[in-house]
Amino acid sequence: MVWYIAKRIAYSLLILLGVTFITYLLLYMIPADPARQIAGRSATTEVVANIRHQLGLDLPFYEQYVRYLGNLLQGDLGRSYVQRSEVSTLLASRVGPTLQLMAAGIGFELLIGITLGIVAALKRNSVLDQVLMAFSFIGVSSPHFIAAMLALYFFAVYLGWFPLGGYGGVEHLLLPAITLGVLGSGWYSRMVRSSMIEVLHQDFIRTARAKGLGRARVLLCHVLPNAIVPVIPMIGIDIGIFMSGLVVVESVFGWPGLGQLAWQAIQQVDIPIIVGVTMLSAVAIVLGNLVADLAVLFVDPRIDVTQT
């Protein structure tokens, strides 16, 4: 067990190293010159050369990368080229709101997804089932920007139930979180539906019913715990998908999170921030998967990792 966890952590670190390398290489190859960007349009060649030297951009790629890794190990993510502030300060100021939105958004995804999945499985092949599955399909395939704009317009402008974007209390959080929840719930409802149907056909369910247990009891105590297992690792994978949705939804709702920061940095080719956000997202995804994989072991004791 310990060996399994150690192995997983080692793999995770390797993945993160790979992510830094690929991100750094891609941004190195972009045909934009950060020194020029910083120096502005009035700069002389001398000034540009001076700035390039100060930033270490005149070094060969491997030296720049090794230098970046060295700083990274000390927790130094560098300074933004545009804002000139420490990347770590900028990230820290935005992690909180993003975690809030993420927790609430994934919460709604699970709530909506699992409920719809159960209903669809119980009423399988009925009209209701088809409607619900069509709904989940539409949700998963809608573009986030349009859906978020429509939700904002309908619920905040037209009906006036929610404030028009911004950050603050629960009332600000609900609309973006529900929007993300509805859009992402399709993955869960489809998965819960198929896994429920599979469990419902198992012998032990028939036995439970045969020995006289009530319908609700069978569903909650026997079917659901078994059907829910594949959902847990799905959450780990979902964190990555969720991040990409956040970039758009945060921008529409004016939510001061990492997604918004990343979106701005990409437009300004602010490389230290792009690398920083990518790193942080990669850590979140790797960590999410690790935790999900370990959690499954506790939920379902039948899974034996010593065999793998």
Partner: protein, 538 residues
Amino acid sequence: MNNKLKGFALTALCATISSQALAQQTPQEGGEIVVTYQNDVATLDPAIGYDWQNWSMIKSLFDGLMDYKPGTTELKTDLAKDYEISDDGLTYTFHLREGVTFHNGREMVASDVKYSLERTVNPKTQSPGAGFFSSIEGFDAMASGESTTLSGITTPDDYTVKIQLSAPDAAFLHIMALNFASVVPKESVEKWGRDFGKHPVGTGAFELQDWALGQHLTFVKNDDYYREGIPYLDRIDFEIGQEPNVALMRLQRGEVDIAGDGIPPAQFLQFRNDPDFKDLMVIGNQLHTGYLTMNVTMPPLDKVEVRRAINMAINKKRIVRIINGRAIPANQPLPPAMPGYDKEYKGYPYDVAKAKALLEEAGYGDGFDTEIYVMNTDPQPRIAQAIQQDLAQIGVRAEIKSLAQANVIAAGGAKDQAPMVWSGGMAWIADFPDPSNFWGPILGCEGAVPGGWNWSWYCNEELDAEAAAADAMVAPDQQQARAERWGKIFTTAMDDAPWVPIFNEQRFTVHSARMGGDDALYVDPVHIPVNYDYIWVK
């Protein structure tokens, strides 16, 4: 002195007054307003800040030796009480106002001015504005790191600053009015180091009270501001991260007073025709020209006939229609509000038949293949498509390369990469209202270097010499002649047709009904986008 200011006086007051009544009311003190922006305020360090959000904010927090009359492009003194220029135009002596204090309570003196200018020029500051000060004696030594001071700046006493130039520069007073020339207190800069931009201390009308990164900033009135009664507002809350469409909806509800990003292009017609917005929308001209560069070093664009043909092939009126009439068609590099703009100049007519004939003459009767580089946000790609269709009319097959801003700038600055660049979204809005700012970096030889902004790589040494001669005309009574001379330089350059000037963009600000003050303040040509010091709440 008054005469001198008149010399620079630019006739172009940039606002179209949509409701005269506003201007006639007397300003009232007090009040708090909410202003929104989409993108982060990067920094409030005057030596570094150079974007849409922070330009006017910095002007409200800091002062320089010179400034402009509110809502105009007319120079006035600011921290300087008055000034003298030597006859050879090389020595500027500024006399400072006495008793002006920084937000930290200390009095501003001559050594602060010297320190601030040296800080901007110092390569360690990495200021995007350092290059503007290249005419000050000792600039080269400092830029290369040989010296840590500017030998050209001396302070005979606490209230006198003497600046010695290495070459006459008629635009120097404008340079002294740039944000990059703002006066900062040394002790605060040293206290915060590279984070001074998050903890700004100046002499301006407002001071920063609170800044939650990525969320909001609060400016409060500086009670000790040296101008009596200014600012009118007690407090401004800047809310950051607001999508422009959402900001306009909130403005309609009365939650927002100024939507800082204006109106998104796609929504423009809807707002323009909405009676609710009619009185809230202010239209102003800006010192902007949108142009298509043609790289004069890349065949077949190296042939002047080809470049002239392209000038005649593009239907500028149609392009203006594509952006819902948010601009006026242009025929020369200078925008109409700039001194030196030649009203008589007709430019190249839109004449497809003649364009074809010119191409034939140049030996390209069958046309040729080329590329247009363009920034990838709306409406720029749509404009590039219109140009592409116009070029197809004369047989020129252009491929559109739509990239992120920084990448287009990099492509334009590489000698053999971009045959044509559409400047939209990147260039050129004047840094200061003087024609010289439209020449050197974008049409002169100094900009035609790798990484430069002269994307047509046009380098005409004769015209560069003319430009230097015009900039040596510093005497107040020469200003009219100087402007005309500059105008001639630009129209002469058009004979070589390195650009297709397409249009001059207008600016639109939307404010709530309770906001008072002249409309010109809301589309201020210098305090871009809004002059916060002089607006007020009814």
